[in-house]
């Protein structure tokens, strides 16, 4: 077996001259220490993205992005296409799991201060990836054209519309018109299957390349005696693969026992369902907007909240440059506390959305 593989490798090497790449891969090492468990999460994000691309491409074979047929085509996939229920449920569940893992990956790199020099660009590209994948989630959610999709999109774009100055224009551009309509569906489909994938591919490419060039970051002040090194290929890859296998099993079980629902077709003239909310990963922002008082000092509560979120996002993106201590390889407890605060806020607000009956 290995002889065959070696022959194939030699074939390609003689024609593509990729031997330097193989040499690099062979030499690449990954540190192992008490925190190295967190290293796996980046790879899991990549793996889940791969699943999304594969299942998404397959869904495109049967999905129709027209308001007369979108919902019906999803229904068709769920009931008539062989294993359609599986492909679609995997796509919907994995989307949520992926965003969850992205948050884990983001916070684990944050707390380990992996963003510090020289990895600032890795962090910033990662931030862009967070935004891109949230956009994936938002655009994809509309595509089944169900009641929940329609109203969640309406609520979400209403919030965009409330931004000062550019709000109204922004909302019209996002929706392709004044309301959620066929124009919106076409637009979101275009984003979801063309623009966002191209952008994500490019940014992931840069992000992964940076990781390859710079190697894995080690926690500040880690005792070098406690650090071992294992080779990336094949040892770390096997460990990666084990994690991926476990996740696959998890996804399989979830999709068989909890297939994603088809829902009711969207009706623009129906009343907004009570308790409509966006998907869980937006709820911490959504609930903030709901509970903030209508006026704080002289500013409208909602506008203030949006401004704070935008400022917060900017801060978060630029944290590698703000955290001077970490840049000097010094422990940075202030930023750890900020991280705890932010993650706690997100967790509490998310739980609040689902536990308090009428917010």
């Amino acid at each position: 077996m290995t002889k065959i593989i070696r022959n194939i490798a030699t074939f390609f090497n003689e024609r593509l001259q990729v031997q330097p790449l193989f040499d690099f891969a062979k030499k690449k090492k990954v540190p192992e220490h008490s925190y190295s468990f967190w290293y796996y999460f980046g790879g899991i994000c990549l793996f889940l993205t791969g699943i999304q691309v594969a299942t998404g491409v397959m869904l495109m074979m049967y999905y129709t992005p027209s308001i007369d047929a979108a919902h019906e085509s999803v229904q068709f996939i769920m009931s008539h296409v062989k294993f359609g229920w599986l492909i679609r449920s995997v796509h919907s569940w994995t989307a949520n799991i992926l965003i969850g893992i992205i948050f884990v990956h983001m916070f684990s790199t944050y707390f380990l201060k992996a963003y510090r020099k020289p990895r600032e660009l890795t962090w910033i590209t990662g931030f862009f990836l967070l935004i891109l994948f949230l956009a994936f989630g938002f655009s994809g959610y509309l595509l089944p054209w169900s009641e929940l999709s329609y109203f969640a999109t309406r609520v979400g774009t209403d919030i965009a519309g409330s931004l000062p100055l550019i709000g109204k224009w922004l909302k019209t551009v996002i929706l392709g018109g004044p309301d959620v309509s066929q124009a919106t569906l076409s637009r979101f489909f275009w984003l979801h299957v063309a623009i966002l994938p191209i952008a994500a591919l490019a940014v992931i490419g840069i992000h992964v390349l940076l990781v390859q060039i710079l190697g894995m970051s080690k926690p500040i002040g880690l005792d070098e005696r406690k650090v071992k090194e294992i080779s990336f290929f094949p040892d770390f890859i096997y460990k990666d693969a084990l994690g991926w296998t476990l996740i696959l099993v998890l996804i399989g079980i979830i999709c068989v026992f909890l297939p994603w629902e088809v829902g009711i077709k969207a009706d623009a003239f129906a009343a907004t369902p009570l308790g409509i909310k966006p998907e869980w990963y937006f709820t911490f922002m959504f609930t903030t907007l709901k509970i903030i008082p209508s006026h704080v000092l002289f500013i409208e509560g909602e506008k203030l909240a949006i401004l704070v979120f935008m400022a917060g996002g900017l801060f978060w993106m630029l944290v590698p440059f703000v955290d001077r201590r970490a840049a000097r390889e010094k422990k940075s407890p202030l930023f750890s506390w900020i991280g705890i605060g932010v993650s706690l806020y997100i967790v509490v607000m998310t739980i609040l959305t689902y536990t308090v009956p009428r917010l």
Partner: protein, 412 residues
């Protein structure tokens, strides 16, 4: 020049219109608002009154001079004061029975309420000298009267049971009249109340739909059936064509009420048919009679179909719970449900043959649904089996990886 004058006139007009409010001085409201309790209440609630919205005021019903601030001078010779209970119907009818006058406000309003009222039990009691009998204000209110189209009005459909019940469900009030006081309680348990209160179906019958509004009387035995036929004509038609019609007419028995009751009309089931003690048929037919045999046959047919329908419903629910998409069989089941509704209706026609025919169509649909349901359950099983196999392979692979990892060179 002309335009300038017109503009001037409009400006003055618009500017001075607010002053017109001073012209409509209403000393009644001004004084009464400053009083307490019972004397203050009319002034406060009048703001919501439908009469106020049409530009009417205290004087239009009670007389008096609202331009006068002095109490004695305002309550002048034309002042009628508070009418006695027995006079209230005519007090209101002064306007409400005047077709020409009412036309100026709302041409579509009826003007026969008073004449209807005198035919009602309430009206007759009042004429006989009973001051406790219901008059206009008992149902419509006094000063905050709203149209029956408004949900807060005591005469809005879902408030009517409570309005009638205020007297009719009060044993103390009703003790001299020797009629039951459990109608409201009974009605609340009925399927009509459920439609009205729970499903908010405003077309569901409430007290006035069967008893009448202003000419309210309990429907006579002969007329009960016509009342029910207003909404249930097909059932009525079937009944009229059945042997029951002649029989019921001969013994002077009220048609629908005999089996379904009057106020507590609950969702009928096939328990009402058939042969055990819950059966209404036993009220007239004894065990040996032909009618009895028909009852038993009807029940058996219906129960058989209903059981099969229920089984299919459960089958689809099971499949759905297991995650299989069953919206198409569910649609077909809806058709079977339509047959079931129609079958229950057909019972009133008492024809076993007709019932068999109708149920036959439904049976065919149910066979289809059962097939689809069974296929869905098979699909659920197939998915679980597939999951087990895939998980098994993945687990094997996981073990292989684990072994590989363990056999790796010790990390440097």
């Amino acid at each position: 020049m002309k335009t300038r004058m017109l503009g001037f006139a409009i400006a003055i007009g618009l500017g001075l219109i607010p002053l017109a409010s001073f012209a409509q001085k209403n000393s009644c409201l001004e004084c009464h608002k400053a009083l307490e309790g019972k004397l203050k209440a009319p002034a406060e609630s009048f703001a919501q009154d439908v009469h106020q919205q049409f530009g009417l005021s205290c004087r239009d019903c009670h007389g008096g001079n609202p331009a006068e601030d002095d109490a004695d001078r305002s309550m002048d010779a034309s002042f009628k004061g508070v009418p006695k209970r027995a006079q209230i119907p005519e007090f209101c009818a002064r306007c409400h029975s005047d077709a020409a006058y009412m036309r100026t406000f709302n041409p579509s309003l009826r003007v026969d309420q008073l004449s209807q009222y005198w035919t009602s039990q309430h009206g007759r009691q009042l004429k006989a000298g009973d001051a406790k009998a219901a008059v206009c204000v008992d149902c419509h209110g006094t000063h905050g009267i709203q149209s029956a189209k408004f949900p807060k009005s005591p005469t809005f459909p879902w408030n009517i049971p409570q309005t009638c019940g205020r007297c009719h469900a009060d044993p103390n009030l009703m003790k001299d009249y020797h009629i039951p006081t459990n109608q409201l309680e009974q009605y609340k348990e009925s399927v009509h109340a459920q439609a009205l209160f729970d499903k908010k179906d405003l077309s569901a019958p409430t007290c006035n739909d069967c008893h009448g509004n202003h000419g309210a009387v309990p429907p006579e035995v002969q007329s009960i059936a016509s009342v029910c036929r207003q909404c249930h004509p097909s059932t009525g038609e079937l009944f009229s064509k059945s042997p029951h019609k002649k029989a019921f007419d001969e013994i002077g028995q009220s048609e629908c009420e005999a089996c379904h009751g009057n106020h507590k009309i609950i969702r009928p089931t096939t328990d009402m048919l058939g042969t055990d003690e819950k059966s209404v048929c036993l009220q007239c037919h004894d065990a040996a009679s032909a009618g009895f045999k028909v009852a038993a046959a009807l029940k058996e047919l219906n129960d058989g179909y209903e059981a099969r329908y229920q089984k299919s419903l459960n089958l689809l629910a099971q499949a759905e719970k297991k995650g299989v998409e069953v919206s198409e069989p569910k649609y077909r089941l809806q058709e079977a449900n339509t047959v079931l509704i129609s079958a229950r209706n057909l019972i009133h026609g008492l024809s076993v043959d007709d019932l068999k025919k109708t149920l036959g169509e439904g049976e065919a649909t149910l066979t289809e649904v059962e097939k689809a349901g069974a296929a869905a359950l098979d699909e659920a099983k197939f998915r679980r089996t597939g999951l087990i196999i895939a998980t098994f392979f993945l687990a094997l692979f996981g073990v292989a990886l684990f072994l590989k990892i363990r056999s790796m060179r010790k990390p440097e």
